[in-house]
Symmetry: C2
Subunit: 404 residues, 2 copies
């Protein structure tokens, strides 16, 4: 990763970078606003009508946008709105979890077009990779049956798995030690021929919320993910923040519970793993989701007690997140059934007073995000889409040059 040269400097840019940025800005504007005319885009992006016209023409011929029927909205020539073409690009998302793996194919606007899942051997990555490549191949085939040109419009494979990554001693039984050491990304890149990227599951949740959920168009949001583990996905300045080594937001094992005898890690008190333990359930059960849903609907006292305890701890986590990040909103996402997540959010209210408790808010301090169990895989798939099409600083910079 490091440069050969000891000189530290950012990359410069040129007209290509300008053009790439402006294309991305158009795409993002259409993603956030639905459909816009060239004139709308010109006003919104501060570019001239002519520049917008040229870019839209390009995007249209690339099959990324399409014109709708013209609309009259008062005096003047009617405008022709453009919208994104969902089948303009596709990506594959892969969730690798402790007990199973899921693959999805999504389009440019984040709709899931194909999905598949399988059990995964916890400690045998080399065998697991076979399973994974089979799944990926399956959704790719399914996708190409729906859209013949999907293969040439595939922008990448996004992988989400529990972090943290790249540590010295991966002996924590909660993690997946064998998988941590396996050269997964390289193997998948070779096996699929796609660009592969990695994020942890909380980051994937945040990415999913950003493309189709509550963080859509929000520049500062923190996504608190309550799954088998607990993590935070950080949207800062409109981009996912991953830290120096891709492990930002791995808050599960940090002590966030202020009270309670002998300060327990948050993950031991508010994760689904702690819930399974509390209830004496086996997380590997096929119908675990239904079991939980049933218990919540029945208002089972044991699960209600856990909700109260977890909500207490999570309340403090939200307070801490607000204090540290000063986000516009906090989004709680979960792998749990929606009824459970909703109860949890309700039990977290009233929230603790914090700097987020300010005049003129336009977003709620805490929102319930998606609880679809497939949202991590969706977020994984959204990462390559975002990298390819969203405006970002690094997309403007030059990457190589002949250095004449």
């Amino acid at each position: 990763m490091d440069d050969i040269s000891p000189i530290r400097a950012k990359s410069g840019t040129n007209q290509e970078g300008t053009s790439a940025h402006n294309r991305r800005v158009m795409i993002e504007a259409l993603r956030l606003n639905g459909a816009l005319s060239r004139a709308d885009l010109a006003r919104a992006t501060q570019l001239t009508k002519q520049a917008v016209s040229n870019i839209i023409e390009d995007l249209e011929s690339d099959g990324l946008v399409v014109a709708l029927d013209s609309v009259r909205k008062g005096r003047g020539q009617p405008s022709t709105p453009y919208r994104l073409v969902p089948e303009g690009a596709f990506a594959i998302g892969l969730q690798i979890d402790r007990h199973l793996t899921r693959a999805v194919a999504v389009d440019l606007v984040g709709s899931v077009l194909a999905r598949a899942e399988a059990n995964l051997p916890f400690d045998e990555p080399s065998k697991g990779v076979e399973v994974i490549l089979g799944l990926v191949g399956g959704v790719r085939r399914e996708l190409s049956q729906i859209f013949a040109q999907s293969e040439e419009r595939l922008v990448g494979l996004g992988v989400a798995m529990p972090g943290p990554f790249g540590l010295k001693n991966s002996d924590d039984k909660w993690m997946m030690p064998a998988w941590q050491k396996f050269p997964l990304l390289e193997t998948l890149a070779k096996g699929t021929g796609l660009n592969v990227s990695l994020q942890n599951d909380a980051a994937a949740c945040a990415t999913a919320e950003r493309i189709v959920g509550a963080a859509h168009g929000v520049d500062h949001a923190v996504c608190l993910y309550v799954g088998y583990g607990i993590g935070a996905g950080l949207i800062l300045n409109g981009e996912l923040y991953s830290g120096g080594h891709g492990n930002a937001g791995e808050i599960g094992m940090a002590l966030l519970s202020p009270a309670g005898p002998g300060s327990t890690p948050l993950e031991h008190r508010a994760s689904l793993a702690s819930l399974y333990q509390h209830l004496g359930l086996n997380p590997a059960d096929d119908d675990i989701y239904q079991q939980l849903d049933g218990l919540v609907t029945a208002e089972d006292p044991k699960i209600m007690a856990w909700i109260d305890g977890a909500a207490h701890d999570l309340r403090w986590s939200v307070h801490l997140i607000e204090t540290i990040f000063d986000p516009q909103t906090v989004i709680l996402t979960s792998g749990a059934p929606e009824a459970l997540a909703r109860r949890l959010v309700e039990a977290m209210h009233p929230l603790l007073p914090s700097i987020a408790d300010r005049p003129g808010r336009n977003l709620p301090r805490l929102q319930l995000g998606t609880t679809d169990p497939w949202s991590i895989a969706l977020g994984a798939a959204a990462a390559p889409i975002s990298r390819a099409f969203d405006p970002r600083f690094s997309a403007i910079l030059k990457t190589r040059s002949s250095s004449t």
Copy 2:
């Protein structure tokens, strides 16, 4: 601040943006590497020699860079290194604290050229502004006596004061309620004719560390500031992160200490305010700094006990910061005498195991940053310099257009 149009979109860019970015990249490269030839710059920035030549020529005629003697370093024509001209730009920094205010004038490379301080009426902003404007006027005059052209090269006035800003109920006695309500920035902008920007004191410390200290050239660093209060200044992706409303990192009043009976806010256990209270000292004393220094040198038992307690809490804070941000390094800065800060850092070792405890580190997990009491004012002054000259996403984007 909000757009009139309901359309949400990022700004586009054009050749002006390209050029502005490339100029900034050159300046940053020279700042980080000392002196570089045009060929060096071309390699480092990925631009062509010709492009670099043109930009350097521009910067030279703007008085921002200057050529040094050419050096032979092997075969080929000798290269002509360029370096930044310190007097190419100036900025004024202003620290407003509970008991006093400080103003400094700095140049492009962050050297302090003039300084002044004064006491400040805690609860009378309208009178205080008079004092402040007097101080600023003083350092400006002093500066212009050293460099006649300083006025036309002044890029702004940076203000640092204890946050958080813009809250509903500013009734916390630790804050400065009267000042929070006063339209300070507007008044200062009118009174000085300069662009005014605001950050909290921890952010200012981080800005100072970035321009001349331990965070120089580091893209992911967290600056833990132990002053009258406690805060964190966040350098993320090479830029100061301020959150959605400028209050990111205000961790002092968040509960970060896991242990201890009845979980006390970090600020009540590890700030200098808590130390003064512990020692029964008056922070308004003129020689408070010397008093502390003396006590540390004498290894006074009471101060040693406080150090142990504070170190215990701060150790957890560092762990939490590492877990949440995954930074390359954590920098402890303080308004305390260096001997005290050094003791504190020593007492914090050994650090708690964390994800930062990884193979292949090249920076220490925890470093002692500057303990110069003027560093907040320096950081305040560095903010306008950074905004004017450092590469950043927002500097590329268009700001207005005739919208023809």
